[in-house]
Amino acid sequence: MIDRSTFWIVVPLLAIGTYLIRFSFLGTLGNRPLPAWLTRALKFTAVAILAALVAPGVLWPAATGGQTDPARLVAAVVTLATGIATRSTMGAIAAGAAALYGMLWLMS
């Protein structure tokens, strides 16, 4: 369950923050280029954050009380492998979901 006071702090601030990120250069006539090191670091933000966000939940899912679950682990590996092989996000989701349901069905 999501705590409502957290939710109502997060939503407006996230909205404003995200908007300011988008507005930053486009809105301020900023034709100055970013420093090279910053551009370089920004290329890796999404990969680093999303990977860190997902890893603990894959190994220790909350739905199974933190016990490593073979079905969820296999689904994660299949998703990642399909995504790397096909470069397709939707393909990877489809393969991961198929693996998850296949494993859950096999294990039931």
Binding site: I21, G27, I49, A51, P61, G96
Partner: protein, 233 residues
């Protein structure tokens, strides 16, 4: 058809394939948000105010883990930092546009509209300013309304989804599926791999702060390796 009109429709046409991605993503967001306990109207306020899918998913996950608001914010904003690059890249093309136009465009600056615009400007370097603006709003047309509508559909059916569907795992699968195609160079692979190892090793840290340390260090490692490989060539 006037050049501006045809630029608008080229934008619509260029962004049309994204509908296939935006519909299931949007629906998934609606389902996951209502499963996490949000009301339909709260889900819609969220998606309309923020309009950045990956960070919305990230915020839902960290809020479900009862992280404090500051941690949720830092995590979700970090997911959106890549958009600084989009803003930088589009600024030279739209610098002459009225400020209110740029203010509206900023709200609609997402992965899909950025990608279609950069491809178009490379293909047609001598577009006029009004054509470029028309193209941008053309590319918004099949993306934003579809995202909002799909979020609403997902939110409306959300509670009806039974637990056996293991929807708790929809988020991890979605994130992994977004990361995998990004692993196109050694520094990206190192950043992602290190991030996974560190986030597991630092999972004991309170309120998901381990995540931020892991992501910060991996980002730095990826960038450092990238710079080093570039110097060598």
């Amino acid at each position: 058809m006037s050049p501006t009109r045809s630029a608008y429709f080229r934008g619509v046409y260029a962004a049309l394939p994204f509908v296939v991605i935006v519909i299931p993503f949007g629906m998934l967001f609606g389902v996951v948000a209502t499963e996490a306990g949000l009301q339909v109207w709260e889900t819609m306020v969220f998606t309309l105010a923020v309009f950045a899918g990956a960070s919305q998913f990230a915020a839902i996950q960290t809020m479900q883990e009862n992280a404090p608001a500051a941690i949720v914010l830092v995590t979700a904003l970090a997911v959106n930092l890549r958009m600084v690059m989009y803003s930088v890249a589009l600024a030279p093309h739209y610098g002459e546009a009225p400020r209110w136009t740029r203010a509206i465009m900023s709200y609609f600056l997402v992965d899909q509209t950025f990608a279609t615009a950069t491809v178009e400007f490379e293909k047609r370097p001598d577009l006029t300013l009004s054509e470029k603006i028309a193209f941008f709003f053309g590319s918004v047309t099949p993306v934003a309304p579809v995202w909002f509508a799909a979020s609403l559909c997902g939110a409306l059916i959300g509670r009806a989804v039974p637990a056996e569907w293991a929807l708790d795992f929809a988020l991890p699968i979605t994130f992994l599926a977004m990361v995998a195609p990004m692993l196109r160079s050694l520094p990206h692979i190192v950043a992602a791999g290190l991030s996974i190892l560190l986030s597991l090793g630092l999972a004991w840290m309170p309120y998901g702060t381990g995540l931020l340390v892991a992501a910060g260090l991996s980002m730095t490692a990826g960038a450092a390796l990238d710079a080093w490989l570039e110097r060598r060539t």
